[in-house]
Amino acid sequence: MNTQLRIAAILSGALLMNSTCVLAEEDFVGWLLDFSRTKEVKPVTDKQYQDECGECHFAYQPGLLPANSWEKLLAAEALHDHFGDNAEMDKETLSAVRAYAVENAADKSWYKRSRKIAAAAAKGQSPLRITELRYIERKHHDIPEKMVKGNKDVKSLSYCDKCHTQATKGVFDTDTVLIPNYPDWDD
């Protein structure tokens, strides 16, 4: 067997052995041939979702929670009390927002960080708060309390975009973190 054939055979085998990719999505070939970076979380691309959610808070990317969580969170009856506030929308808008969130949820995304969230959620988690995800808890475990709760410009882990400077682009990489009032936070 010549070298090219051998390389092609090994490459095909290795990729097919990646059972997560094979089983999880229909769009495996698309992912395989797409060389754009999908390391983080898919940015929000739906204007209606951005407008409706972003009106009151950072428009969390759907890839930050599994579909089950979005179903619960965006149920019409649940929005009466959306973490203490009334976030009701008209039926049509809610339907569109929920559909976008569910279609782009962590367990339906090819983006790496979403896949990690989905893998954690697959173990029985479908939390309503992103900060309750085991993966998110673990990633923030070493951040001292004074930099978040005790920081007047942050106050809570819920405000992703206070420290993740590229959160709106779906980038949550450590290199892009700047904690207000703690420029040398990682020292």
Binding site: L11, K39, R138, D153, S158
Partner: protein, 214 residues
């Protein structure tokens, strides 16, 4: 010369790793006065429950201005060009590049049947193929080392093999070991030896590891 090969590879790996380490040398410094971890108050903290997400509403002018300043600082923030994470990324890409060059410069297959009585001695150094191979192996070793240093907290056995970072780590480490083994095996042999398959498998494992977390 041959017996020095491992030394060269390991030395090159250490040098590259040490160089990348200067970027983030003080990362592990401990600050003893820091309070307990933030994760202890994320789940049931009373301050989250009432109004967790409303930003800047009903706040005083002073706090609004402070929040605005923080947002401005965030907008001005540029991620560092040199970081441990970036070093790991470029070392990995370099490994795959040099592995490809190694495959492209592989010599013609050795004579197996009807061979002339006297064959030229086997070259185990000084050719483009051997240089590329050693460079790829050194870069692979450095990639794995920087991965361990800067992405250790992304690797969790409890998440199982379905976790993309676990897949990345296992495939990357396996690929590097296979490449090092292939280079070592070839360099120590004075007669034609089968090492291409192992090296190719190593290179492909590295490439797949990159793709999974790209």
């Amino acid at each position: 010369m041959k017996h020095n090969l491992s030394f060269y590879i390991v030395s090159a790996g250490i040098c590259i790793t040490a160089y990348s380490g200067t970027v983030n040398a003080d990362e592990a410094a401990l600050i003893p006065e820091l309070p307990s971890a933030a994760s202890t108050y994320t789940r049931s903290a009373p301050f989250i429950a009432p109004r967790p997400y409303i930003i800047a509403l009903n706040e005083s002018n002073a706090s609004s201005k402070q929040a605005e300043m923080a947002v401005n600082k965030a907008a001005e923030f540029e991620p560092p060009l040199f970081s441990g994470s970036n070093a790991h990324k470029y070392l990995g890409l370099g490994t795959v590049l040099f592995a490809g060059l190694t495959a492209l410069t592989a010599p013609e297959e050795e004579c197996e049947t009807n061979c002339p009585p006297v064959q030229p001695p086997r070259q185990t150094s000084g050719t483009s193929h051997t240089r590329f191979a050693r460079t790829a192996a050194a870069l692979a070793a450095a990639t794995v080392t920087t991965g361990l240093l800067y992405h250790w907290n992304d690797f969790h056995l409890e998440d199982g093999f379905s976790d993309p970072d676990n897949q990345h780590a296992l495939l990357g480490a396996t690929g590097a070991l296979l490449m090092l083994y292939a280079v070592n095996k070839s360099a120590k042999s004075t007669v034609p030896t089968s090492h291409a398959g192992i090296a190719e498998l190593g290179g492909v494992a590295m490439a797949v590891a990159i793709k999974i977390t790209w």
